[in-house]
């Protein structure tokens, strides 16, 4: 159908539309009109991607000078491929409707094997790739730095974007890294020796260039050709590379000195935590390395590798890592912390020193993106509470909206199970974690559900260790054997290949009618990347609240930083983080309006307003007061009732006019009125 979105003609490749899709497009258009950033939460399975694509492409066609490019970032390879398929569908619709072959060029970059840095990326109207291509400075520099300013950037599935940012800026150094780095430096030295004998002019030319400094880069940045590299600070662009590391030999010598210093730092007996300035002071005191040459380290190494015409950069990953670290640590006095741990907490007898250089501020990596591109859209099925993302990513959006899922029948059934049948409070909190009664009641819940839920059930635990212990305990108590009478059991392991196989078998068992249970882990790969549509997930059980492992020093440092810099209380952030993962887990089961599923939150803490309130609106509004603190039996009764209702035939006609609209229905005054209520502004 063709839609009129506030005066913009939008081609939408379906015969019907969900009301929330229309609402979503309205908000999106307003964001683009304002040339600002937006945060939009809309449940998965309501056609978010196609709404985004339809509107932005229509916008691009209508205002080719205002928006020149769409950069669509998603997280996993299948998601990227899905976007491409939807795009293909849209393009086919365009050529069918307009009769002209479309001249849109879309480009997908996925996985390194087909990494394409062809100049075509500059001309493509649409680029689809993974977050890293934009957020990880090491790749963004190669792929994305020349993208036009008038682009619209979309981060889909962005609920974890802060972690991606942090990951891309953090570095870990172990003894092994340093050993490999040592080899790299030796190789560099040898190569320089050889080149000096054969082609000394090359090195002289490089030296001359370095005197000129990084002027080129500076010009480019000022004239707005490049996406800024957060690793390369503005200031150094105006300066020449310092004399101390300008010649190749000097630089190699400098690297050696830095390496020796790092080695000495790893020889510790106790945990050390310090800030970047402290580290710089120490390195100056110990080996007289100044801040300035450190800041040029990454750039200087790239130049050297280019000059030496080294083909295989991968071999030099260790020395690259060290020099990136050098530049980062000397550039940012804030937002990072250095933690040196002499051994793993679990195995204090085995020396395994690691230097963690951890980014605590996700806004550092994403800052250039917000600064450069006129519109950045952060969207996902679970972004609640919406206001926290602008705070931790440090940007000011023009629109923030959460959309509900309009439903002709209530196809999701969130239940909070807080008690066992014996009234024992259910919780995964630390104090009762080993409690036999809790584990038994959890087992009972799963057993009862396995008897009444058809096909697939997915259960998530708060951590892998917790799951292992519970599984062992259930095994000893014979609970698993009893569950096997109803369904087959598959369990996520730490091995991705093994888990993939278990997943496929799980789906097979759901497919052939036998039914299966998948035991999995929140924050794991399954919880983040695998959908359990229809019969692959008729119920999701979240055992416990998936708080992050709080004993980690890195996390503690980050929490402190958040408190000091953003005034976000530790508990607020931890709860937010736990709830977004819980929402991700339970949301895996509902992938559309024709789908249905139970969402069982098995922890009494979910009943509290501070937890419940952080769930996405589309889940929250279906939790009624009667289902806040259920016993296992009560939950089973409610679930039975729900499943029986859902088993009734559900046809398109049932949805029409309510949660599914024809063009005529959409244009009615009354409906437009209703649609304005779908978007919930914050």
């Amino acid at each position: 159908m063709k839609l009129n979105i506030e005066g913009l003609l939008v081609y939408f490749p379906y015969d019907y539309i969900y009301p929330e899709q229309y609402s979503y497009m309205l908000e999106l258009k307003r964001t683009l009109d304002a040339k600002g950033h937006g945060v939009l939460e809309m449940p998965s399975g309501t056609g978010k991607t196609i709404s985004l694509l339809s509107l932005i492409i229509a916008y691009q066609r209508a205002f080719p000078l205002e928006v020149t490019k769409l950069i669509y970032c998603s997280r996993t390879v299948p998601e990227i491929e899905k976007v491409i398929e939807e795009l293909r569908k849209l393009m086919e619709f365009y050529s069918k409707e307009t009769g002209e072959s479309n001249n849109f060029l879309a480009l997908a970059l996925s996985s390194r094997k087909n990494l394409c840095i062809h100049p075509e990326i500059l001309h493509a109207n649409i680029v689809v790739y993974s977050y890293h291509y934009l957020l990880d400075p090491k790749i963004a520099d190669l792929v994305s730095k020349e993208l036009a300013k008038k682009s619209v950037v979309v981060f889909d599935e962005a609920h974890n974007i802060d972690n991606v940012c942090i990951d891309s800026m953090s570095v870990n150094i172990t003894r092994r890294t340093l050993d490999r780095c040592q080899n790299n430096v030796d190789t560099l030295q040898n190569t320089i020796h050889k080149i000096k004998e054969t082609d000394a002019a090359k090195l002289r030319e490089e030296y001359r260039r370095l005197v000129e400094g990084l002027k080129e880069a500076n010009v480019a940045r000022e004239t707005d050709i490049y996406l800024a590299n957060p690793v390369l600070p503005d200031e150094i662009l105006q300066e020449a590379v310092p004399g101390t590391i300008r010649t190749a030999e000097h630089f190699v010598g400098f690297l050696r000195r830095f390496l020796e210093y790092l080695k000495s730092r790893l020889r510790v007996q106790h945990v050390v935590q310090e800030s970047a300035p402290q580290f710089l002071k120490d390195i100056f005191d110990k080996v007289c390395i100044d801040r300035k040459p450190l800041r040029f380290c990454a750039e200087r190494l790239q130049s050297l590798l280019r000059t030496l015409e080294i083909a295989d950069i991968a071999d030099f990953s260790a020395v690259t890592l060290i020099s990136n670290f050098a530049t980062l640590v000397s550039t940012y006095s804030q937002g990072f912390t250095i933690i040196i741990e002499p051994f793993e907490d679990r195995t204090p007898t085995i020396a395994n020193p690691v230097l963690h250089f951890s980014c605590m501020d996700p806004s550092i990596a994403i800052k250039p993106v917000f600064q450069r591109f006129q519109s950045v859209i952060i969207t996902s099925g679970t972004l609640s509470p919406l206001d926290i993302y602008p705070r931790i990513l440090d940007f000011r959006p023009v629109t923030m909206a959460s959309f509900t899922m309009t439903l002709a029948r209530t196809c999701l059934c969130p239940l909070i199970v807080g008690r066992g049948n014996d009234q024992v409070a259910l919780s995964s909190k630390f104090e009762t974690r080993e409690d036999f009664a809790v584990i038994r009641n959890y087992g009972n819940l799963l057993l009862e559900m396995s008897a009444i839920v058809p096909d697939g059930i997915v259960a998530f635990f708060t951590s892998y260790v917790y799951m292992e212990n519970i599984v062992a305990s259930w095994y000893e108590q014979g609970i698993l054997e009893n569950i096997q009478r109803n369904k087959l059991i598959f369990i996520e392991t730490q091995d991705a290949a093994e888990t993939s196989m278990a997943l496929e078998k799980y789906q097979e068992a759901c497919e052939n009618g036998r039914g299966a249970i998948l035991l999995s882990v929140a924050r794991g790969k399954v919880s983040e990347g695998i959908d359990f549509v229809h019969h692959f997930g008729r119920a999701v059980i979240m055992f416990g609240v998936p708080y992050v492992y709080t004993q980690s020093r890195i996390l503690k440092a980050r929490l402190e930083y958040l408190r000091d810099q953003f005034q976000i209380r530790e508990n607020d952030f931890l709860t937010f983080d736990a709830m977004r993962h819980a929402a991700q887990c339970v949301g895996r089961a509902i992938r559309g309006k024709t789908d249905y599923g139970l969402m069982i939150f098995a922890d009494k803490r979910y009943a509290r307003a501070d937890k419940r309130g952080k769930l996405p609106r589309w889940i929250q509004e279906h939790i009624n007061d009667g289902s806040l603190n259920l016993t296992v039996d009560e939950a089973v009764q409610l679930a039975k009732h729900f499943l029986r209702q859902m088993a009734q035939p559900f046809r398109q006609e049932d949805q029409l006019g309510l949660s599914l609209l024809t063009l005529e229905q959409l244009q009615s005054e009354e409906m437009l009125q209703k649609i304005t209520q779908i978007a919930h502004q914050t």
Binding site: Y16, V77, Y129
Partner: protein
């Protein structure tokens, strides 16, 4: 009658039957006895017909074996070889013991099937009553081509009956119970053993290797209950244990499965992430991976449990579908040959393509793309029932045409002048009208009122049954022609007598009955005609045969 291809399983000489010496043969499908010196069997029973065998008590002078048939008849064999009578009898008994249950199932199934057919088909049931119960033909004859049809037309139904899967919890059903004196008792049934064998072929192999040569059955299962199959948390059972090899084998199987990878790219966690961070980058918030080396005992036993549950589920699943390796793979394979050429620059394996398409599909946003099945809204259902009338001879007329033709006819009628020279005389006309009226000479055939108005429904029903029965018999009769085998010859003679018997026992009483009720005897005329035709045919055939013989 004995076809040569029959496999003879056992031959026992010197067996008496009705005081006659002879030889007993046990064959693949039947048991037979022939008198000495003659090469034909006077006694032959299909195993399927035998209900049970009985033997004489050990102390008795005569060593006998009695076969009781389903029909209630029985046959007794007397083993008369003095030196080995007992041994012979035992041998025959043993063999029968093995054979009978096999056929019993089949026999029962056949009986069931017959029962079912009779219950479901009232016409057939009536026919059965008319023909078999009244002993016009034997039950065997009656079923001869019916059941055969059932068995032959749909052999898949019998051979490929649906495989029953295995319960995931078969090991849980072996509830160990303390026997009160420091021991455990495990309940093992044949079903459970079968489940174990089907799920774990490795165990089956061990079983056939070791039982009963190295271990007794009991020892074997005792060891099984001590193995990792039963105690999933056990890590290393003793190396000399026969099941440690199984464990290794299982491990290997699991590994090869894992190495094979998954077909559905959407569940492949290995290629999920576009780019894992390079080594050394990222925040390691996850707890350090537990490599094999530094696991505690508890951890590795937990790990073993998880692994074994996955393995167990996979094996159970595989056991259920092992037989019918679905042709799904083929389908996807063939589809890869076509299509996809248009995105040569962006090649995707077809499975992936299909899965992706599925994943992005919003069925409710699209118009239902299957052909719409709108219920027919018929204004004149009789017109629909009579089907379309061929169009070619039809010309559509406009209302103006109709008005014109009406005017024309009216005009013609007004100006009608009878051509008096050509008309028939009034007497001839009236006699023709009489002849053509109901009851008239020419309307004799058509004058018959519909049978349902003439005779009471009870008689109608009876007539219907007679028709069905006669039809069935005639079918048997006519199916014998051309008579080209001795078997058919025999049958055709039998069928003729059947027909005659039918006429005598069924048709004639019916005729008497309708006569008593003063109904038209015409009712059975057609039946008689049919029978007569058959008799004529038979006579022709018979005289021809006689001529040929003389």
């Amino acid at each position: 009658m004995a076809s040569l291809s029959e496999e003879v399983l056992l031959v026992v000489k010197k067996v008496r039957q009705r005081k006659q010496d002879g030889t007993l043969y046990l064959m693949a499908e039947r048991i037979a006895w022939g008198p000495e010196g003659k090469d034909r069997f006077t006694v032959s029973h299909l195993y399927a017909d035998i209900r049970c065998q009985k033997i004489s008590p050990d102390g008795k002078a005569k060593v006998q074996l009695q076969l009781v048939l389903h029909t209630g008849e029985s046959t007794t064999f007397h083993f008369a070889n003095e030196s080995s009578a007992l041994k012979d009898r035992e041998a025959a008994k043993e063999l029968l013991q093995q054979l009978l249950p096999k056929f019993k199932k089949k026999a029962n199934k056949e009986l069931e099937e017959k029962n079912r057919m009779l219950q479901e088909d009232p016409v057939l049931f009536q026919l059965y009553k008319d023909l078999v119960v009244s002993q016009v033909i034997s039950a065997e004859e009656f079923w001869a081509n019916r059941l055969g049809g059932v068995n032959n037309t749909d052999p898949t139904l019998f051979n490929n009956k649906q495989e029953v899967g295995i319960s995931g919890a078969f090991l849980a059903d072996i509830r160990p119970q303390t026997d009160g004196c420091n021991g455990l008792r495990y309940n093992l049934t044949a079903d459970i053993i079968e489940s174990i064998f089907r799920t774990y072929p490795a165990v089956k192999q061990k079983y056939s290797e070791n039982v009963p040569h190295n271990l007794t059955e009991k020892e074997f299962w005792t060891r099984f209950f001590q193995s990792h199959y039963f105690h999933r948390d056990r890590i290393n059972t003793g190396t000399q244990d026969i099941f440690s090899e199984c464990a290794k084998q299982d491990e290997k199987g699991l590994k090869s499965l894992v190495v094979q990878g998954v077909k559905n790219p959407l569940v492949d966690l290995l290629s999920l992430e576009d780019k894992t961070l390079d080594e050394g980058y990222g925040v390691s918030t996850t707890q350090p991976s537990t490599s094999n080396a530094n696991r505690t005992v508890k951890e590795s036993s937990n790990y073993a449990i998880i692994k074994r549950f996955n393995h167990h589920s996979a094996m159970v699943l595989a056991a259920g579908s092992r037989k019918g390796e679905t042709p799904a793979d083929q389908a996807s394979e063939t589809s890869s040959t076509d299509g996809n050429s248009r995105d040569s620059d962006f090649f995707q394996p077809p499975v992936k393509k299909v899965k992706l398409q599925e994943a992005i599909e919003y069925e409710d946003l699209q118009r239902e793309n299957r052909p719409k099945t709108v219920a027919l809204n018929l204004k004149k259902s009789d017109r629909y029932a009579h089907g379309p009338v061929p169009l070619q001879s039809q010309q559509y007329t406009t209302s103006q045409d109709i008005i014109n033709s009406v005017n024309y006819i009216r005009h013609e009628m007004a100006n009608y002048k009878p051509n008096l020279t050509q008309v028939v005389s009034s007497t001839a006309a009236s006699s023709a009208i009489v002849a053509l009226s109901p009851g008239g000479v020419l309307m004799q055939a058509g004058a018959q009122q519909a049978i349902n108005q003439m005779v009471p429904s009870e008689v109608q029903g009876e007539l219907k049954h007679l028709y069905v029965a006669a039809g069935e018999l005639l079918r048997h009769f006519w199916s014998c022609f051309p008579v080209n085998t001795p078997f058919l010859e025999e049958k055709v003679i039998k069928m003729k007598s059947n027909l005659e018997r039918f006429q005598m026992t069924k048709l004639c009483p019916f005729q008497d009955k309708i006569q008593r009720q003063y109904l038209s005897t015409n009712l059975t005329g057609h039946l008689e005609e049919m029978l007569q035709t058959a008799y004529n045919k038979f006579h022709i055939w018979q005289t021809r045969r006689m001529m040929r013989k003389t």
